[in-house]
Subunit: 134 residues, 4 copies
């Protein structure tokens, strides 16, 4: 069981959603941030670097947005749809763009295949949470 | 002249907005993140700590969202309204909530007065950029 | 298999250490950052808040230092002992202080028990990597 | 007057150093993180990208280490030399490497010249604080 899941049981939550789902979203966000950070470094090691520039840029943004979203959702400040909804929408859109770009390179670069998978899973997790919070 | 402003002249930009405004937004975001981080610590030093809990929570979220927004806007990945617009909306909403709460304590705590000012300036900067990007 | 572990196989590494160990350190750092962030929020929900202030401060610092250490180690810039060694030493020391403080509260607060465990595991991982890099 | 400086007057500090110096260090760290983040993006726009890879890697690490150092120093948890000293040493070493590499490109790339300057200033600030904390 992830630390995110273990900890969610130990303090009052302000989002009225299932805690297994919430922990799954936090884990997907943290994993995606980690995958994007590693993928940037892997992209920088490729001989055909010029073709990886867009992927690097999108991974850098996606890593930051996922990490911040994970922190905000873990913290459980009083639920404010004006903050949380657009943040999750930005996160889903960033995962979408980054996942699409990584997929272009997936056949040639294993790191992009793994990162695309992390982005897809995280995008779904953001939309699931947005649906549940509605 | 801030580093943000100096650097914006040195590389291609993908947002079609005035560079003085863009640098001003980056500086406002960075300043607000810094003010919120310091305000958390100041709040934790107050004797009437129980009254400061909401302020601490909102400052923690605001600091993260501002820092990520500053990074995304500095990086200038190809402009994607699906990412940048909701991110700036989340940031403006977070600055609004945090600024409102800090203002409640401004008469008694100088740190909250300073932080409220940073939040107000940053909220305006986000809306200005959202308007210019429209 | 964690994304950190999957990705380490896909790009050149500059640290001459076993990749299972390296992935384990990255996962321990990421988990500890997540646990500390959640523990701050849980601490802020406790009735005896005044007793939790030190725990909150140490968790905030530990979360940041662990997240940065995870990013630096994932990126694998050319190994520079002048940067990586003191960073891991700072991280181990931060995990130690935070873990010690969390342990003081572990009997009463499940969140501190979980966080202490994450800090202990992360501290060991930092020392293991420091030993292997020697 | 920077927000860092304004806020330092408003809460108890645990580092026994001059507050103007402390605020100057926080500002130098925040500025350097910002300059490094922007320099990564500028490097990625250069035609001779292959020559900029090391610069990008060093800037990414330097940005993270500076941002975390700024947060830790702003927060003023009880001063723990086991955490703060190696963190500042890692930060100074990172600024040194990043500044050296940026300087190699300063004649051709204005963004690297600006970033080198930010790194030099930040490296000095870290050593000054380490001296004052001794």
């Amino acid at each position: 069981m992830s630390y995110a899941r273990q900890l969610l049981d130990t303090y009052p939550r302000t989002y009225r959603v299932d805690e297994d789902m919430l922990a799954g979203v936090i884990d997907a966000l943290t994993d995606c941030a980690q995958a994007c950070t590693a993928d940037v470094s892997a992209d920088l090691s490729e001989p055909g670097l010029a073709e990886m520039v867009l992927c690097i840029r999108l991974c850098l943004d996606c890593a930051d947005i996922c990490a911040t979203s994970a922190a905000v959702i873990s913290r459980q400040a009083p639920y404010d749809p004006g903050v949380v909804r657009p943040l999750l929408e930005a996160c889903a859109a960033s995962c979408r763009s980054c996942g699409d770009e990584c997929e272009q390179h997936a056949a040639h670069h294993a790191h992009c295949r793994v990162c695309a998978e992390a982005c897809r899973r995280c995008e779904r997790a953001c939309w699931d949470l947005l649906g549940a919070l509605a």
